[in-house]
Amino acid sequence: MTPETVLIIGAGQGGLQAAISLRQSGFAGTITLIGGEPGLPYQRPPLSKAYLRDGKAEALYLRPESFFDAKQIDYRPDTWVEAIDRTAQRVTVTGQSGAHALPYDHLVLATGTRNLRPPIEGIGLACDLRTLRDAQTLRDRLSQPTRIAVIGGGFIGLEFAAVARALGHEVAIIEAAPRLMARAVSAKMSAHFAELHRDWGNRLHLGQAAIAVEPSGVTLADGTKIASDFVLLAAGVRPNTELAEAAGLACDNGVRTDARLLTSDPAISALGDCASFPDPRSGAQIRLESVQAATDHARLIAKRIAKGDAAPYSAQPWFWSDQGPCKLQIAGFATPDAAEEEIAAGIIGRFDASGLSAIETLDNARAHMRARKLIASPVPITRAELEEIAA
């Protein structure tokens, strides 16, 4: 039976895409989209890239206000869900109009992630880069010459560091792991980006955890003091699973779903950064932080709800990071322990027990697009095919 009332918790790119795709799939019932932030749903990836430079908030909005009326999507910004009552199939929300209950036939959890705040003394002084509001604050801070310490050498910290450096600021990057982006890319690619950032004039402190943040700077585990006027904390995220856990849904590094992205309650789906789902390639439960996964999840869920399509999720992941003039592109998904091999200059393959898991490329869109096709191949890749990527 097709549900009549779909409630989506979370109005990021994935939650909004679920609403859009439901209408595109012909769903004629009620759609309510609940967002915790004020304003229209917006894209997050540019917050650490173009937006820091141009400050154009209007370029970030995913759909105009008129869209929600036209598509009869009840969008409720600045609204928080307090609890999910699975037995009664309703959620309790608080927002501008006070607390009330909203019923659902199907519930979609698109609650995303929040920034990890490691137990570092004085960490409350550090800025975040997660929301448009955070990015606006950072832009203000970048309007005059300043010394910046970035805690975390992952995509967000490095993208921010590249922009800040290009604007003429002094930047120190502090990473507790021995190399940059260790969770996401090969050691070779890490080393390459370390060299790039050093060339641009950024100072790297690798293998050193920050232990204290003060108004005058950051102290590292070995006692080194890094003088800074402000600190950006970009030390990763954790999935927002509290609502799901309180409602008794299975959670394990995210809200656990099956291959159709259904949670342990068949009336509830989960998508995007908050969902732990079976990797179509390896079968292992994985959680991805990416626009691609969030929107591909959303489209699958919408088709299932609107059309009863029970196909398992099979999309292959892709990621990108723009740092300064360099574009890193990744097709597929490798765990940090995956083996690595340089296939050609700037093209690195990652391998695990079931074969090729990801291909990293640098400033090479052609190789990246070829890599995406290879990664999607249902049959094992030959060495010749792999080398063909660079041709």
Binding site: L60, F67, A70, A365
Partner: protein
């Protein structure tokens, strides 16, 4: 303002007024023109803003660069010599009245 006309695969036509400096992709998405997705927001990562520039405008729109060409390789619909990623076409007063055709699918 720059007038842009989007002609969908089924022949239906949408005319919009866009700001100079905006891209053909963003103008479409922000005014809810069906048929242009622009999933990556213009970062040239996805090829879901594929369009065909109307023959009458081909000369004025400019050519695609190497990266755009490479990304178009992954487009869902047929790529022709008039194919562009609409995120890479910036609207100027010269393009007032631009007509683009949209592919059957973007995924």
């Amino acid at each position: 303002m720059v007038k842009v006309t989007y002609i969908a695969h089924d022949g239906s036509q949408t005319d919009i007024d866009a700001d100079e400096g905006d891209t053909v992709m963003h103008a479409a998405v922000s005014q809810d023109v069906d048929g242009i997705v622009g999933e990556c927001g213009g970062a040239m990562m996805c090829a879901t803003c594929h369009c065909y520039v109307d023959a009458a405008w081909a000369d004025r729109v400019g050519t695609r660069d190497r990266s755009e060409e490479d990304m178009l390789d992954g487009a869902a619909s047929e790529v022709t010599e008039r194919s562009r990623l609409s995120c890479q076409i910036k609207l100027t007063s010269d393009l007032d009245g631009l007509v683009v055709h949209l592919p059957e699918e973007q995924f």
